[in-house]
Symmetry: C2
Subunit: 177 residues, 2 copies
């Protein structure tokens, strides 16, 4: 799914600047299951403007670059709807953590323990984030949040119960790959 489609989707929730769209992907409600950054968002908005799928209204600001507020056009709404009817790609789960653990038998036990502690801490932090519903969330966002909560919970449970399996395999002393 291209960033143009993601931007179209973001604008369904209201007019926004490129900066604001970036925030939705970075910290906002999209951040847990979508990716996009400046390097793709700004060019995407330009392409969408050219194609008439969004409009751009520059708002003058004193001593700052103009704030460019983008809005979905009717044509853009149709395009998004069309995109949403396309076959959906499989979810993707990518983990450098698991990659590293593939070599647990070649790593010092302390390294593996530290990795595990860090990972669990990070997961618990995200779990807390996802446990807080927001009154402004749409039903879809709430569903995604709960889905994330379920997955993070399962991850934490698994790692807490099974970490010993991998830690036992790590080498006691010096690492030698």
């Amino acid at each position: 799914m291209q960033v143009t489609t993601l931007c179209l989707g973001a604008l369904v929730f209201g007019d926004a600047t490129g900066y604001e769209i970036n925030k939705m992907f970075e910290d906002g409600p999209f951040s847990h299951f979508l990716d996009a950054s400046y390097g793709s968002i700004y060019p995407a908005l330009m392409r969408l403007t050219e194609e008439g799928l969004v409009t751009c209204k520059a708002e003058a600001q004193e001593r700052r670059p103009d704030k460019k507020i983008y809005s979905l056009t009717e044509k853009g709404r149709l395009k998004l709807r069309e995109a949403l009817q396309q076959p959906i790609a499989d979810d993707k789960f990518r983990s450098e953590f698991l990659f590293t653990l593939l070599f647990a038998h070649l790593l010092p036990r302390n390294r593996v323990r530290t990795m595990m502690d860090h990972r669990l801490a990070a997961l618990k932090e995200k779990l807390i984030e996802l446990s807080q519903p927001d009154a402004e969330d749409t039903p879809g966002m709430d569903f995604a949040r709960q889905y994330g909560y379920a997955i993070y919970s399962a991850s934490i449970d698994f790692l807490e119960n099974k970490r010993h399996l991998i830690e036992e395999i790590a080498t006691e002393e010096e690492a030698h790959v």
Copy 2:
């Protein structure tokens, strides 16, 4: 994490051709949590060869292009070990499925139901794959497989128990975004 590092890791499990490495990411034990394809693997192997991190032995084949078998060098082993000591990026979960559901309130109910059925079927298929341990798996691979199993189980449970929440929100009749 760059594809060069992933290739180094793949070669720890034994000498291999670019084609075989690709299979590890496509169907093999890595496929559930790592990404890499021809377009990145072949260039990566060339770079690694130039840097002396792997060696390449061309094996002549009748009426076929030479099979190029790559092996890790001592320098390559050290490089991998170094890479494994670096800070590990957060796991990434990317889902076009959840993105689409953000707009459930704008989609026809049948579309949402079909999506949900497809997704559950796909998840169950993966669950079956992950339920089968392989005698050749290293402990790390087995851990990753069980981790995957736990996550897919949780996903399936969640979707089966909560799908009604999002299906109720979908529009009864025609779609209009």
